[in-house]
């Protein structure tokens, strides 16, 4: 099942396209990092997935074909918007009760236990909680709904490093315990590098990369060799980024489908694996779209094997 599927999805505000031609298929069970600089279209994409924004073009469906924003989609997705909006004048306990009343299912013992564990008093007004506590409260409310997909928009932005760690620990526990899929946006990859296993990279309203992190890392490598020969070899590979020092050149190349270790390495050159952060930075700097790995819609849309 794909938790998110978009096809030709686009959103225009006035004359500017916040997002265009976005075709994606995110399979279930992943922690997906939605990465891109500010203004890349991350929030726009998320808003369309939760039904807050109506696409200008294309379609978005969630949880295996439910139209975004439909009752079934709202029922199965928990969304925590940027800055974790809560009613500031309501107490944490009231927010709990409010969320319980607004949803079909709500795991109150879980929510109460989480808040007790976090030391968030039920009587305290949401507006009086610290930024980290507000984020944790919003996350707790979302998880207590027992969603199948959790969407978090810049949840770490207002947290200090310790709170970030606590927050991510809660998310990871929910993934492990309930098998909830997570889509999490951030303009900084560093804090997601170790936990994310699926990557969506947006830049200036366009999808740059989408795929499983392992596949992405396996299909890219850096070739290092004499700068003088770099132009000659650059033509033979799909070069994402080329950096030339005085003597040496570093080419970030992509090898589709093939085992990168067995790919051709020109004599006198060396191949190195690449880190996720290097990969992201390279794609963000890459000017054109020609070399982008296409979204792998067909791959995930095929019938899947059911458990025997």
């Amino acid at each position: 099942m794909n938790v998110i599927e978009t096809s030709g999805l686009g959103k225009r505000y006035g004359r500017t396209w916040a997002l265009r031609e976005c075709t994606l298929a995110v399979p279930a069970g992943h922690l997906t990092a939605l990465v891109g600089p500010n203004g890349a279209g991350k929030t726009t994409l998320m808003n369309m997935c939760v039904g807050l924004a109506v696409p200008t073009a294309g379609t978005a469906s969630v949880l295996g074909g439910q139209p975004a924003g439909s009752p079934a989609a709202l029922d199965g997705i928990a969304f925590v918007a940027q800055d974790a909006p809560l009613y500031k004048n309501l107490s944490a306990g009231d927010m709990l009760h409010l969320t319980r009343n607004l949803n079909r299912g709500f795991d109150r013992p879980y929510a109460q236990a989480r808040l007790a564990e976090l030391g968030i008093p039920l009587k305290k007004k949401a507006g009086k909680l610290s930024g980290g506590q507000q984020a944790q409260l919003a996350l707790t409310l979302a998880l207590a709904r027992r969603p199948r997909l959790l969407i978090l928009d810049e949840p770490l932005a207002m947290l200090d490093p310790l709170a970030r760690q606590d927050f991510m620990a809660t998310v990871m526990t929910a993934m492990a315990d309930d098998g909830v899929s997570v889509l999490l946006s951030s303009h900084a990859l560093a804090e997601l590098e170790r936990v994310a296993d699926y990557l969506i990279l947006l830049s200036r309203g366009q999808l740059r990369v989408a795929g499983e992190v392992d596949d992405l890392l396996a299909s890219h490598r850096v070739l290092t060799g004499p700068a003088a020969e770099s132009d000659e070899y650059a033509g033979q590979f799909r070069v994402i980024q080329a950096r030339r020092a005085a003597a040496q050149a570093h080419l970030l190349v992509r090898a589709d489908g093939t085992d990168p270790d067995s790919g051709p390495v020109p004599p006198g050159w060396e191949a190195h694996p690449i880190s996720l952060e290097e990969l992201v930075m390279a794609y963000l700097r890459a000017p054109g779209d020609a070399e982008l790995p296409g979204p792998s819609l067909t791959q995930h849309n095929e019938p899947t094997e059911v458990a025997r």
């Binding site: 039904g51 989609a73 029922d75 800055d83 009760h97 607004l102 299912g105 019938p303």
Partner: protein
């Protein structure tokens, strides 16, 4: 053999039972507690004041009407006291009364959706399982009923308080500032003010501008109704009987005369020159130049005077017409608000 199937789509297979409507009762109560407590509290406090002040006014009025002969100095003193002290206060309250629906609309109505949009909490509320159209319908309906009921109950106290002034201050139930605060009209105007506020809040998405827009729109609607609309309610009667009252002198039971016209012999419109000749005999200041009365002069020339009027006995039908279209407009505005919520996504 490996069995391949399409991915399971559980949400489509199971018929989703929506979150019950009644859950919104607590949600609305908790989120709008300040409005739902303070509005009845303020109206209740004013009602108590009106009741206490009203007892004195009713007493004063009973003394005044029992005073004989009316031309005596004692009675005239009572009369002028009533018209100055009591009426000054009542008139001020009446002006506030006419503004109250607009204030309720601006404070209780405009903020309902504008606050969610201004503070960003709509991103929480509209992504819960309840669904945002249903959330909007439930919330607006509950608040509208609460606000209308409070206003309706309050206006009945005011009607009692104001009753002595109708006869005393040359007013009838059709006077512009009286009709809208009497009967069920006050509740209906409060409802429409609330609906205007909710709609403006969703359209403008900011509290303060939405409040200003609500006050402006309400005032425009109230003035248009007073000046143009109300006289067109299809309840007017036409008569040539000159004894309907309401011409020249004032009485609390006078009808609302909408128009007067004259026909000559044979039912054709009376000639203007003949009318001018007759009117010249009865100058505005000074004694009539003939012995006959105006009616006799008209009769001599074969002229009939026609009146289009609404009798006081049609007060309640008039109230129902006014409340009816205000209710329809409110429902329309709330439907438009829900449509905006559905349509106008972030």
């Amino acid at each position: 053999m490996t069995v391949l199937t399409m991915p399971a789509q559980p949400a489509q297979d199971i018929k989703l039972r929506p979150v019950p409507w009644r859950r919104m009762a607590w949600v609305t109560w908790r989120q709008h507690r300040p409005t739902l407590i303070s509005l009845p509290a303020v109206l209740g406090a004013v009602a108590v004041f009106l009741w206490i002040a009203g007892l004195k006014i009713h007493h004063d009025y009973a003394v005044l009407t029992a005073c004989h002969p009316f031309s005596s100095n004692a009675c005239q003193t009572l009369n002028s006291n009533f018209n100055s002290t009591d009426w000054t206060m009542a008139n001020t309250i009446n002006i506030f009364m006419n503004l109250t629906p607009a204030l309720i609309g601006a404070f209780a109505g405009a903020s309902v959706l504008a606050r969610e949009l201004e503070t960003g909490t709509y991103r929480y509320a509209w992504t819960q399982g309840f669904g945002r159209e249903r959330w909007t319908i439930a919330k607006l309906a509950l608040l509208a009923v609460a606000v209308t009921a409070a206003a309706g109950a309050f206006s009945q106290v005011f009607v009692w308080f104001f009753q002595p002034f109708l006869a005393q201050e040359d007013l009838t139930v059709f006077s512009a500032t009286v009709f809208a605060t009497h009967g069920i009209a006050f509740a209906a105007w409060t409802l429409v003010a609330f609906a205007i506020g909710a709609f403006a809040g969703m359209l403008i998405r900011r509290i303060v501008p939405a409040m200003a827009a609500t006050l402006a729109a309400y005032t425009g609607l109230a003035l248009a109704t007073w000046l143009f609309l109300r006289e067109h309610y299809p309840l007017a009667l036409v008569t040539s009987n000159p004894n309907i009252g309401g011409i020249g002198s004032f009485n609390v039971n006078d009808p609302w005369v909408l128009s007067t016209w004259y026909t000559g012999p044979g039912g054709k419109p009376a000639s203007q020159s003949t009318l001018n000749q007759i009117f010249a005999l009865f100058p505005n200041n000074g004694a009539p130049r003939v012995k006959e009365t105006l009616a006799q002069e008209f009769a001599q020339h074969g002229i009939t005077v026609w009146f289009r009027y609404i009798p006081v006995s049609r007060f309640w039908p008039m109230q129902f017409v006014e409340a009816g279209w205000l209710l329809a407009l409110s429902v329309l505005l709330i439907a438009a608000t829900v449509w905006l919520v559905r349509r106008r996504a972030a």
